[in-house]
Amino acid sequence: MNNAIRHTWVVSVTMFVTLFAALSIIQVALTEDLNSDPNNARQIYNDRGAPRGAITVDGSPIAESVPAENSNFDYQRVYHDPELYFGITGFFPIAAHPTGLESELNEYLSGHSDSQFFDRMTSMFTGETMEGAQVELTLDPELQRQAYDLIPEGQRGSIVVQEVDTGDIVSLASRPSYDTNDLATHSTEEYNANIAELEDSEHVSPYYFRPINSTIAPGSVFKLVDLAAMLESGDYDPDTVLENPSELDLPDSDRTLPNFTTGICHQQTESNLTWIVAQSCNTPFGEAAMDMGEEPLRDTAEDFGWNQELNIPLSTSASAFPETTSQADLAYSSIGQGSVTATPLQINMVSQGVANGGTVMHPNLVDSIRGSDLQLLEQPEPQVLGEATSEEVAGEMTEMMEAVVDEGTGQSAQSQSFDVAAKTGTAETGNEGQVHTWITGFAPADDPQYAVTVVYENIDYETGHSMTGPQMRQMLEAVIEP
C-alpha cells in the first residue's frame, strides 16, 4: 500500500512539474507575444493610463495628467480652459486616436522620443514612473482669452496672432468650441456619447480646428497676393493708373466680374493702384491677373504657403490655388473667389510675410520641450518658409495697406497708438446673405511686430464687417506694448 502511495506521489509531482513548465512558457517564454496581442487591453491601459507630460502656456498647464480615481487607468488627462485650447491640445481618449498636439507631440509627451532615452533607462532602474516631456507653447494665455472673448457666442470666427519676425503664434482662437475633457473620459460609454454628439453638431468637429483647417474663399484679402505678384513683375507700381470699369466682361464666358455694388469703386472709372487697393476694387485685379497669366500668381501664392500642408506642429490643411480652367476662372481666383481657398492662418502668413520684408516664417506653436527634470530637450528655432517678395515690394505693399486703414475699407481698424496696415475681404459663400468677412494686417506699420487676422464665416455682411476691424485693432493694442 505504501508503495502505491509513493507512486501516487510521483504522479502528483509529475503533474505539478507540467504546471511549472506551462507557467514558465507563459510567464517567461511567451510574454512578448502575449503582451503585444491585439486583444490584450493591458497595453492600452498602460499606454493610455501612463502619466504624460503637461502642455503649458506661460508656465501653467493647459493639459496635464493627474492620478485617476476608480479607474483601470492610473492617470486621467485633464484640460484647463478647454474652450481656449481645444483645437491646440486636442484630446487624449482611451479608446481612439489622440488628436491635436496630444497626437503630434505624442512621442515627447509620452516620454518615448529619442532624446528621452536616458530618462527611460534611469526610470527602469530606479523604478520611478517616468513622466513625459513638458511642452511650453508660444501662446499668450491673456491674448488667447481676449481673442476668444471677442468672438461672440453663436458665430463661427477665428482670430490668429503671429509674431512678425519669428512666425511664432501668440494667439489662435476660434468659436464654437467644445470641452476636450468630455473626450478624455475613462468611460467608453461617456466617450461614445460625447463624440457622437460632437460629430452630429453642425459647426464644430472634434477633428477640425477652424483657424488651421477651415479652407474657405479668402475674397479680397487674396488681392495682397495679386499685388505682390504685380509689383514684383515690374509692370506695376503704387502709382500706376488702371482702368476701373464697374463690370469686367470675361472672355469665353457669359459671366462678368463686377465691383462691389455698395462700395466707393464706382466713383472712379480709372485710378491709381493705391486707391484701388484701399477701396478694394475687383475689376483692375481681374484685368491684371488675365494680363499676367496664371503662372506668376500661383508662384507668389505658393511662396506665401499655398498648396502645402504645414506642421506647426499641428497639421494644417493646405490652402488651395489649383490650376485655373479658363481666363474667367483666373479672374475670379484673383479676387479670392472661384477655386481659391485659404485658412485663416494662411492669410495671416501673408500679412506676416509682408510685414517681415517679404520673408514668410514657418508658423510655430512650440516654445520649448523639457524633460520631466526640466532639462531642455528641444527649442525650435525660427524657420524661413519662403521668400515671397523683395523688401522693396513689401515696403510698397505696407504703404498701400496703411492707405486701406487710413482712407479705405479698413478704417475701423485705426488705432490711436500706432499706424495699422491691413486689408479687408468679403467672400461670397454661394448662400444668399451670407459672406466670409476677413481682415488681415499688422502694426506698427513703420516697425511691424505682430500680424493679426480676424475672420467670420457665413455671417451677414453688416455684422461681420462691424466686428473684424475693431477686433483686429483690439488685438493689436493688446499685444503691442506701448
Binding site: M1, N2, N3, A4, I5, R6, H7, T8, W9, S12, V13, M15, F16, T18, L19, F20, A22, L23, S24, I25, I26, Q27, V28, L30, T31, D33, L34, N35, D37, N39, N40, A41, R42, Y45, N70, N72
Partner: protein
C-alpha cells in the same frame, strides 16, 4: 515498516509554532503590503483583522497541542500562509470596481472554517471513528450532491447548477461531498480490500473482482459523476473520478486499475464531448483560445482564459507587485482566476512559491498516509491528498491551458466560503491521521511481538475511543519506555 517509528518521535509543536509565526508574518504582512503598494491608508481594520487571523490560527495550534501533539508540524503553517495570501489578494481586488468587501467575508469564513476544523479535531479525537460512518457518508454524499437540484434552494450560477441558497447564504454542497465521498471510498475499500483483491476471475494477467464486491463503489461513482455532469460541474466530476481511481489503486496496488481508469476517462471524455454541450465548449476554448470568433463569443468564449494568460504574461518573471497589475481583466479574478492574479502581481517566482507550498502540502498529506498504521487512514489521507492535487492541477492547468478549463477554485486562496470550510476540515482530518502516524505506539501491557502486522491497531478489539484514551494517558510516560515499546513493535 513505516519510517516514522524508527526515530524517537517528538511532538514538534514548537517547530510548528515557529513556522506558524513565519506564516502569519507572510500572510498578515501581505495585507499591509497591499495597503502600502496601493497607497491606501493603513486603518485600524488592518490591525484588527490581522489579530483575528493570528488568534484563530494560534487557537488551532493550541488545539493541536492538546489533542494531537504528534501531528505533522508543517501542515498548519503551510495552510495558514496560503489562506493569508488569499485574503491579501482578495483584499487587493476589493480596491477595484468589480469587487467589494470580499476580503472581509473571506476572513469571516476563514474564522468559521478554522473554528469548525478545531471542533472536528477536538471531538473526533481519532480519524478511525470516521470509518464507522462509511455508509452514512455515502448517504450524506448523495444527499449533498442532489441538494442543488432541489427546486427552491438550488441555484444556477455561470452555467453550473452547484449552489444552494438557504436563508440568503450561498453554499456549494459538492465541496463537503468530496470529503464524505473520500471517507466512504476509504472506509469501503479498507473493509472489502481483501475480497476485491482475492475473490474474482482471472483473465490473462488481470484479475477482475466480483461485481457484488464493487457494486456499492460503482453506485457511488455513477451517482456522483451523473449528478455532477447533469449539474455541469466538470471540475468536480474529474476530481471525484481521479479520487476513485487513486484510492482503488492504493487499496489494491494493482496498476491495472490505473489503466482501466484511463480507459474510462477516455470513454467518459468522448461521451461528454458528444452529448454535453458545456464540455464541448470547454474543449473548443481550450484548443482554440486565441481564435477571434471564440474569443469574442458572449457566452462560453475564451475571453476569461485568454485574459488570464495576458495577466500571467504581464506579470512575467517577477510580477508587477500588488496593485500594479490588472487582474480584473479576467472575470472572477478573486475566485476561479485568483491564480492568474497571483501570477500577474507576484510573477512566476511568486506563483511558483505558491505551487511549491501546495506540493509540500500534499506531500505531507501523503506522508501522513504512509506513516499511519491503519488501512483506512492510509486510504483516507491519500484520497484527501489527491483531492488537493487534482484541485490545484485542474485550476492551474485550466488557466495555463494544460487541460480544458473547468470551474474549480484553488484551495485556501480563492474567495468562497464552502471551499475554505471543506479544505480546513480536510486539514483537521489529515492532522489527526498524521498524529496517529507519528505518535508512539503504545499497546498496553500486552506487547505483540509478531512484527509488521502490529501496525494494524484497528484489528484488535476495543472501541477507538477506548484506545484513544489509553494512548492519551500513555503519552505522559518517559521517552525511554516509549522507545522500548516501539522497538518491540518493530
Amino acid at each position: 515498516m513505516n519510517e516514522t517509528a524508527q526515530a524517537a518521535p517528538k511532538p514538534r509543536r514548537n517547530v510548528e509554532l515557529v513556522l506558524l509565526l513565519v506564516a502569519l508574518i507572510i500572510g498578515i504582512g501581505a495585507q499591509f503590503l497591499v495597503a502600502v503598494s496601493m497607497d491606501e491608508p493603513i486603518t485600524q481594520d488592518y490591525y484588527i483583522e490581522g489579530a483575528v487571523f493570528a488568534t484563530i490560527s494560534l487557537a488551532f495550534h493550541l488545539a493541536l497541542r492538546f489533542r494531537a501533539r504528534y501531528a505533522d508540524p508543517f501542515i498548519l503553517p503551510i495552510v495558514v500562509t496560503l489562506n493569508g495570501l488569499g485574503i491579501a489578494m482578495i483584499h487587493r481586488l476589493d480596491f477595484t470596481a468589480s469587487f467589494d468587501g470580499a476580503a472581509d467575508r473571506q476572513l469571516v469564513w476563514t474564522v468559521v472554517s478554522i473554528g469548525a476544523a478545531i471542533a472536528l479535531l477536538w471531538f473526533l479525537k481519532d480519524h478511525r471513528r470516521l470509518r464507522q460512518l462509511t455508509y452514512v457518508s455515502l448517504i450524506v454524499s448523495v444527499l449533498l450532491l442532489f441538494l442543488p437540484m432541489v427546486p427552491g434552494i438550488g441555484q444556477e450560477i455561470f452555467g453550473a447548477r452547484v449552489w444552494v441558497t438557504i436563508f440568503g447564504m450561498s453554499f456549494q454542497p459538492s465541496e463537503i461531498a468530496k470529503i464524505t465521498l473520500a471517507v466512504f471510498f476509504a472506509g469501503y475499500l479498507a473493509n472489502n480490500r481483501d475480497l476485491i483483491l482475492l475473490a474474482g476471475k482471472k483473465v490473462g494477467p488481470f484479475t477482475f473482482p466480483r461485481l457484488q464486491d464493487l457494486a456499492p463503489m460503482a453506485v457511488a461513482w455513477v451517482v456522483a459523476l451523473g449528478v455532477l455532469i447533469v449539474q455541469n460541474d466538470l471540475g468536480n466530476a474529474l476530481m471525484l473520478f481521479g479520487l476513485f481511481v487513486t484510492v482503488i489503486y492504493v487499496a489494491t496496488s494493482r496498476f491495472s486499475w490505473i489503466a482501466i481508469g484511463g480507459v474510462f476517462i477516455a470513454i467518459g471524455a468522448a461521451l461528454a464531448y458528444q452529448f454535453v454541450n458545456h464540455f464541448r465548449e470547454r474543449v473548443e476554448i481550450w484548443l482554440n483560445a486565441f481564435d477571434q470568433e471564440i474569443y469574442e463569443r458572449a457566452y462560453g468564449g475564451s475571453h476569461q482564459v485568454v485574459q488570464g494568460m495576458f495577466g500571467l504574461a504581464n506579470g512575467g518573471l517577477t510580477g508587477t507587485g500588488f496593485g500594479n497589475g490588472m487582474p480584473t481583466q479576467a472575470a472572477l479574478a478573486n475566485s476561479d482566476m485568483i491564480i492568474a492574479a497571483f501570477g500577474e502581481e507576484l510573477g512566476f517566482i511568486g506563483l511558483s512559491a505558491i505551487l511549491v507550498l501546495y506540493l509540500l502540502l500534499f506531500s505531507r498529506y501523503m506522508r501522513a498516509g504512509i506513516g499511519t498504521r491503519d488501512h483506512f487512514g492510509k486510504l483516507l489521507a491519500t484520497g484527501l491528498a489527491v483531492i488537493l492535487v487534482l484541485q490545484v492541477f485542474v485550476v492551474v492547468g485550466g488557466i495555463t491551458r494544460v487541460i480544458p478549463m473547468s470551474g474549480l477554485v484553488s484551495p485556501f486562496l480563492a474567495a468562497g466560503g464552502s471551499a475554505i470550510l471543506a479544505n480546513w476540515l480536510i486539514v483537521a482530518i489529515v492532522l489527526l491521521i498524521s498524529h496517529s502516524a507519528r505518535r508512539p505506539v503504545v499497546v498496553g501491557p500486552m506487547v505483540n511481538t509478531s512484527g509488521a502486522e502490529t501496525s494494524g491497531i484497528e484489528d484488535r478489539g476495543g472501541s477507538a475511543e477506548d484506545r484513544g484514551a489509553r494512548q492519551d494517558s500513555s503519552t505522559g510516560r518517559s521517552g525511554g519506555e516509549e522507545t522500548q515499546i516501539q522497538e518491540a513493535a518493530r
